[in-house]
Symmetry: C2
Subunit: 567 residues, 2 copies
């Protein structure tokens, strides 16, 4: 069941739907010519198809494991990682100042999407490193940048994020890990961190942990948190890995999926660390990393969904069953066709949203414009939650398309569903994303939201000539979404927003998906118009139920007591 | 995380929502007095809580395995099975003529729900046996009934269903297993069957396989299929297990979940079998078994959802995180409260539908009335698909409530999701259920559907006095559902019905759930009214998007070619 990268979808989305031409037209991204873009997509596709995808099953069957304190990775992962590093894919969006290729995040997003389809558990490692590079670029001292970033980009070293502690999950501010000055400009880090992805491996020369900890006198909560670089091996005077730091992998988790990605409990016992960013400024630095990572996780969802779709499609085209017309395969049954088309239409919508998000990030960087920044910030939680929900839903439908075979592990369909399941949870649960959207991201009085809604309405106006029926449906959905957005902005009690945050976020994504599909119907060929018609007529109406829920507020909900729920 | 059976929910639903009083008022079920009902619920609860639930994790961690051709079951399962058998729970709805208790299916449904919450993989074994008993009651000769049914009821022997073959899944008619007359009234069965649940074990004295096979000259398709009883050990003259039959477990599947339930590939090599029902009448007999089993599988979904809800609730009440008011636990966050309330409201709706279905089955049996039969037949696919979808969705939300812990297997939340996943597939995929609903179950011109819709509208009329807002919403939803039902009935091309079958079925369930919740608001206490308000205002509107999809027909969908999907 070989993976084939959907290059033409990426190219179409970039050329016609998400406004990548604006990015390529900036001085900052002058290198991102059409030729370069095409070359990147085609090279990344080749590597993902030929080298990464064949590793996926082994990652599930032979999980990373702990062997005398060292993490041994799944068969072939070392070679796969080397291919990713040597391809230059880790640092492709890092700035050229620090040795990166300085290419747009839009391109990195497409490449990450492909690698995620091919092998989610391996792809998580470069994804974490990409986030670390970005955090260091923005917040680290020149000395740390010079020492670490080139080795992270080359893949000689890899990066991790250490936020969570047993009592501090979504509430990062509750963390207890301590950092005490050693008197020489370094700090002694002491504490336990959990859920550390790719905390160790047997293929990089060093592992660079970015660790959140509290300095003496750091106030409780997030404002008293600082960020530290804590390498597994302390670099010597030449910058080579030297003596072992006082940290260790205590254990690896036994997870529902993503078995190829080691998830560790880490113990820091006075480990030597270097401050990144200002004292007590750890959360700001961490948010740089997390915003990048949130889009990265969104793309994991989309990529996994693509893998699941291709897997299910191959089965449905091959499997003969019942009185199907045409080929006689189950794909000729309307309900199987409906499942597969739903999967494909949702992937197109979610992928469009992640690429729109990446374009906004690129434009913000290239222009410094606050509007682009606000747009990127607004789209990030939508990308993350919708992209990963689509990952879970599409992979669940993929199992269903397989019938009984879907429940048998050897088929591989179940692995997509098990692997992608964590993406709705890590980097901020999808509930946290939705709360971020309706609280922080509407603090501007809805300005960023209304700008996007105007754009959708303008798109629908323009589409009325060639696609009147579809355009009207999208325009109407944007109006309903606008009314709900106005209602949310008017609620002073944040709980009234939070109660409907998840359905609101999903409705926003549904309507944005309608916008992308409508543009696809206008600018694409007949096949794209058919897919858009399916989405807009059959899937977009979901927003009605979602928005009804989003406007109900908290009162009735919170009146249902915990005791009642448990009764 | 102990399971507590929701006895008060069962009692409330039976007393006030699903019309169990009608069942108890029939002569046929005169034994089902209020005292008896209460005693049954309380005894089954006790066993499920104290004996069955503690086995659930071991079933996952120590799967059934094949040892020299014999299936070794998970630790404690033998004792659990014995408790179920000795409690009389296997044959509780078998008629008294054959040694059963002759109690209503409504009560069996409640008991199966509890056992499914406690341990889905073990509960599947008595569920299969219940289906076999019913098939034998209706179709077997007196000799077979007398020999097999008492031992199936006592739990000394257990029953299986052998339908599927590698090339014959949803399309049962494609099966190739042969039955050749031995000349002594018995038959030699030869062929391979797959996905055979509980095909063997190490705790019953015999395993009774009901096997679909084709007699010489049997026409192709389902009309040439006959049903055979093929015991693992051939009963001797005294009816005790004698010499080994020519059948064997070839292998067990490695599944996503339900590890405690052995799923076998079976090889029949001229095994001795006895005809059940007439020659070439196998499908009719099998449908008896399958209709019962479909409701049984629906209840597996509901039961698993209940287990997942209780698990998530306990976590949410215990886990402290963030600036939550009140208890300081995450249950005080509106989004967590929303997730848990959604889970609870959906379980109530799905459970009400399965019990309505069971009441219709009981009334059909007790009165012989065609209207009740049609109602039971109409509700069965809705129960099966909605009950199991709720199982999957609620258990997925249960993982989400746990945050990062949900992805860690030791927590147990993931097991609910993995175990219940197969229920949307086996006993006819949920797509097949929906096709059955819009084709066969609307062949009466929608009569059964419209009767139910009238009942919903009458319920809404009656509720207008005390719950005007909720009643109006439910009435309106029934009207929209009626329009779509009329549209479906008017479509001559079945593909136009099939294309929207799944969303139509779900919308029907949503509206039926609204009906049940509305009755609950009218007849229950304030807490029930609050839950009903949540469901009707926030969840019922989902039907709008679903029904829009149900009315779109097949043309646009089937115009999207398989090649386009794969492009």
């Amino acid at each position: 069941m070989p993976y084939r990268a959907p290059i033409s979808d990426f190219q179409f989305l970039m050329d016609h739907i998400v406004g990548f031409d604006q990015v390529a037209a900036t001085d900052h991204f002058a290198d991102a010519t059409p030729d370069m873009t095409q070359a990147i997509l085609s090279e990344a596709a080749k590597m993902s198809e030929d080298i990464i995808a064949p590793l996926n099953r082994a990652g599930d069957l032979h999980p990373a494991h702990l062997d005398n304190g060292i993490v041994r990775t799944s068969p072939g992962f070392a070679e796969g990682y080397t291919a990713i590093a040597e391809g230059g894919w880790i640092g492709m969006s890092a700035s050229q100042d620090v040795g990166g290729l300085g290419l747009p995040m839009t391109l990195t997003t497409a490449v990450n999407d492909m690698m995620a389809s091919a092998c989610l558990s391996l792809q998580l490692s470069p994804l974490m490193t990409q986030g670390q590079i970005e955090a260091l670029e923005h917040h680290a001292s020149d000395a740390i940048k010079a020492l670490y970033i080139p080795k992270l980009i080359s893949g000689e070293w890899n990066g991790t994020m250490n936020l969570t502690e047993p009592q501090a999950g979504s509430d990062v501010g509750a963390l207890r890990t301590k950092a005490e000055p050693n008197g020489d400009g370094t700090y002694a880090i002491t504490g336990q961190k959990i859920y550390i992805s790719w905390a160790d491996n047997d293929f990089t020369q060093n592992v660079c942990h970015l660790v959140l900890a509290r300095l003496p006198g750091g106030v409780p909560g997030t404002k008293g948190i600082s960020l530290f670089m804590v390498p597994k091996l302390i670099p010597d005077a030449d910058g080579n890995p030297g003596i072992k730091n006082d940290l260790r992998v205590v254990s690896l988790e036994h997870k529902m999926g993503l078995h190829g990605s080691p998830t560790a409990v880490m113990e820091y016992s006075g480990a030597k660390g270097w401050l990144v960013g200002p004292e007590n400024g750890g959360m700001a630095a961490m948010f740089t990393m997390m915003n990048n990572a949130r889009l990265g996780v969104a793309v994991q969802g989309v990529g996994a969904a693509e893998g699941a779709l291709q897997h299910a499609l191959a089965y449905a085209q091959d499997r003969k069953q019942g009185k199907a017309s045409g080929s006689g395969s189950i794909i000729e049954h309307p309900d199987v066709r409906r499942m597969l088309t739903t999967m494909k239409a949702d992937i197109f919508a979610a992928r469009a949203i992640t690429l729109m998000n990446a374009v906004a990030i690129d434009m913000a960087l290239a222009t410094g414009d606050e509007g682009w920044k606000a747009r990127a910030a607004f789209l990030t939680p939508i990308s993350k939650a919708f992209g990963t929900d689509v990952g879970c839903e599409v992979s669940a439908t993929g199992i269903q398309v397989h019938g009984g075979m879907g429940f048998i592990e050897e088929t591989g369909a179940a692995q997509y569903a098990r692997d992608v399941r964590v993406t709705t949870i890590y980097e901020g649960t999808n509930g946290i994303q939705a709360m971020d959207l309706v609280a922080r991201k509407l603090m501007d009085g809805g300005e960023a939201a209304f700008r996007i809604l105007e754009e959708i309405e303008q798109g629908a106006e323009a589409a009325k000539v060639t696609q009147p029926e579809l355009a009207e449906a999208v325009w109407q959905s944007a109006e309903t979404l606008r009314e709900t957005t106005e209602w949310l902005v008017a609620q002073d009690d944040l709980n009234d927003r939070f109660a409907g945050a998840v359905p609101y976020l999903r409705a926003f994504a549904r309507v944005l998906g309608g916008h992308a599909h409508l543009a696809s119907a206008v600018k694409g060929d007949a096949a794209r118009a058919r897919l858009a018609t399916f989405y807009i007529k059959r899937m977009l109406p979901e927003h009605l139920g979602l928005l009804a829920q989003a406007r109900e507020g908290a009162k009735d909900l919170m009146a249902i007591s915990a005791d009642e729920l448990a009764a």
